[in-house]
């Protein structure tokens, strides 16, 4: 019966071959470590956000006069409304944790390199879309920080050449953030996740064309590939379960950790909070914005700090495949970069002050220096490696024989 049903479908729709090509026979390198599980996790969180979002939207009211109250209604009156809301608010932060780890893995192992540029760029686009969704979603509770965060960030669009003022009004639907902004942000916040889903499909089609990279950085021969299912489905599920435990600790015991105190006060256009901070996932970029004394320069630097990742396939000029594993200088730069981003995040959360501004400027300088120096470092690193004698593992991989790749 089951077989006949599947036959019936297969004559009309490529179900079996799709499952075979993309799961049960989809070749995956057998040496992937747990860092390769974050893409799967990001997909899971996307689904979680969409599902919880749909249920929140059933009770939420996108109206400047009602929004704050409707969130309280969800938290108090809706059955398990608090759970849905905290899943969504904690999920937003978890999304960025996962995405940033996913990006860090890509950078460390050089997964952005040819032929995976389109994957990297579609990932970049996904990051921008997720940031947009998160930013617009943060306005919806209509608390003080929601309101003033949106005010500050929409104001950045004043930097648009020639039509800056009009762009800001067009974004807000008003001269300042107000009811019109809230309703359009709600509409877009509901739309963007579906765009994200679409680009995830593109990201996956690209992945299934070029296949996964792996820690060695080399394209492993067929005999080192194993089918995605069941090996990576079970490995990813295990990784996901571990992550979900941590997620639930925050969700059930520290759900207010990611919610600013100020956001428990309804938005008030007449009262500016003493210290406006964006959500933690924007802090490094916010620090870069503030590090440049000039408004226009700051906005450009902030934009560049996000878009510069797209240039990575060209900035990395090494001729040896892979990333930090075989390359000591690249590895060092990677760690400096990670520390630098953490410092920027800290600086972004602090109120402006003499010392903190200088720290922010130095960290911004280091941030961009790393990208600027990368072409030279990667070029000279290659020569240094050759001169010094390649590491055994790298030599082995280049010879592609008899060494244990895994």
């Amino acid at each position: 019966m089951k077989n006949r049903l599947i036959e019936w479908i297969d004559e009309r729709f490529p179900l079996s071959s799709f499952v075979k090509d993309n799961l049960t026979s989809y070749p995956t390198p057998r040496n992937l470590n747990y860092w390769w599980g974050f893409g799967f996790l990001a997909g899971f969180i996307l689904v979680l956000q969409i599902l919880t979002g749909i249920f929140l939207a059933m009770h939420y009211k996108a109206d400047a006069g009602l929004a704050f109250e409707s969130v309280q209604y969800i938290m108090r009156e809706v059955n398990y409304g608090w759970l849905i809301r905290f899943l969504h608010s904690t999920g937003a932060s978890a999304f960025f944790v996962v995405i940033y780890l996913h990006m860090a893995r890509t950078l460390y192992y050089g997964s952005y390199r040819a032929p995976r540029e389109l994957m990297w760029w579609s990932g970049q686009l996904l990051l921008l879309l997720i940031m947009a969704a998160a930013f617009m979603g943060y306005l919806l509770p209509w608390g003080q920080m929601s309101y003033w965060g949106a005010q500050v960030i929409t104001n950045l669009f004043r930097a648009t050449p020639f039509i800056g003022d009009q762009v800001v009004i067009w974004l807000r639907g008003d001269f300042s953030v107000g009811d019109a902004t809230l309703t359009r942000f709600f509409a877009l916040h509901y739309l963007v996740p579906f765009l994200i889903t679409g680009f995830v499909v593109i990201h996956l089609i690209a992945l299934h064309t070029v296949k996964s990279s792996n820690p060695s950085g080399f394209n492993l021969a067929d005999k080192h590939n194993i089918p995605f299912h069941p090996y990576y489905t079970v490995k990813d599920l295990f990784g996901m379960a571990v992550f979900f435990i941590l997620f639930c600790v925050v969700l059930f015991f520290y759900p207010y950790f990611f919610i600013e105190a100020e956001n428990h006060i309804p938005a008030d256009p007449m009262v500016t909070p003493s210290h406006i901070v964006p959500e933690w996932y924007f802090l490094p970029f916010y620090a870069i914005l503030r590090a440049i004394p000039d408004f226009m320069g700051g906005v450009i630097a902030m934009l560049l700090s996000i878009l510069v990742y797209g240039a990575m396939p060209y900035l990395d000029r090494s001729r040896f495949p892979g990333g930090a594993r075989h390359r000591p200088f690249f590895r060092l730069m990677f760690y400096i970069f990670i520390i630098d981003v953490v410092v920027l995040g800290y600086v972004g959360a602090q109120p402006p002050g003499d010392t903190i501004t200088v720290v922010g400027q130095v960290a911004t300088f280091i941030y961009f220096s790393i990208f600027i120096l990368l072409p030279f470092v990667s070029y000279f690193e290659d020569r240094w490696l050759i001169k010094r004698g390649l590491p055994l593992e790298l030599q082995c991989l280049l010879d592609a024989k008899k060494c244990d790749l895994l």
Binding site: M75, F238, F252, P352
Partner: protein, 225 residues
């Protein structure tokens, strides 16, 4: 365009200067460290807190997201609720005895709503507790608050003028009960949330262990090759 950039820069500079100024102002008069206490989540404490809030806070403050019906969750019986709510209905919000206009006229402002107050202040419950006990009499004989100099609220519990140690202990207890109730009001599902949390995490740990063994078992197939 240039003019606009100049405007924006000026406003940023002014804003920054203001922020810096306000922070140095705060730094100049450092508030004392917050007082420590343990929140008693027992029904008795919450009920005492609710009655104190009704007696001391509701004159000027609202708890507009709390309805009288919700108070049944902290163990008030129907008879007790009838007594508490007076003319208000069970579905009515717990509001001040004065309407907003009257308060605006009398106090010059509508005091902040207390429903979320323990979440809306940095320091949370400890801040509110410290604030309630932070009133002290100055040399001029007026009351000020160590944690919020310049607050327009007057000392609700009398900590600034009561000197008898026994009575002061009562006030400490009252402050703790009020904060326990306000903490419940801000996050009424906290207890339920934590209980569910333990079950969910226990389940997930079990699931994770099982997945780990499943993973090991499936991957062992590769060793045979």
């Amino acid at each position: 365009m240039k003019e606009m950039i100049a405007k924006v820069i000026t406003s940023i500079v002014v804003a920054t200067a203001c922020t810096v100024a306000s922070f140095t102002a705060i730094a100049a008069s450092p508030s004392p460290p917050l007082l420590d206490f343990t929140i008693d989540n027992s029904t008795a404490a919450l009920q005492r807190g609710a009655e104190l809030v009704q007696g001391k806070c509701l004159l000027c403050h609202d708890l507009k997201y709390v309805k009288y019906r919700h108070l049944a969750d902290i163990g008030f019986t129907e008879a007790q609720l009838t007594l508490l709510r007076g003319e208000s209905g069970l579905e009515d919000a717990v509001l001040s005895m004065m309407d907003s206009d009257a308060r605006q006229e009398m106090l010059g402002m509508v005091p902040p709503d207390l429903t979320l107050i323990t979440k809306a202040r940095r320091g949370g419950e400890r801040y509110i507790y410290s604030f309630l006990l932070g009133f002290a009499e100055t040399a001029e004989g007026t009351a000020t608050n160590r944690y919020f100099p310049g607050t327009r609220m007057s000392d609700p519990l009398g900590i600034s003028y009561v000197t008898d140690e026994g009575e002061r202990q009562v006030i400490y207890q009252q402050a703790a009960d009020i904060v326990a109730f306000l903490s419940w009001a801000a996050d009424p599902h906290a207890t339920e949330r934590k209980t569910i949390g333990y079950y969910v995490i226990a389940y997930l740990v079990l699931l994770t262990v099982l997945l780990y063994f499943m993973k090991r078992r499936i991957w062992r197939r590769l060793d045979d090759e």
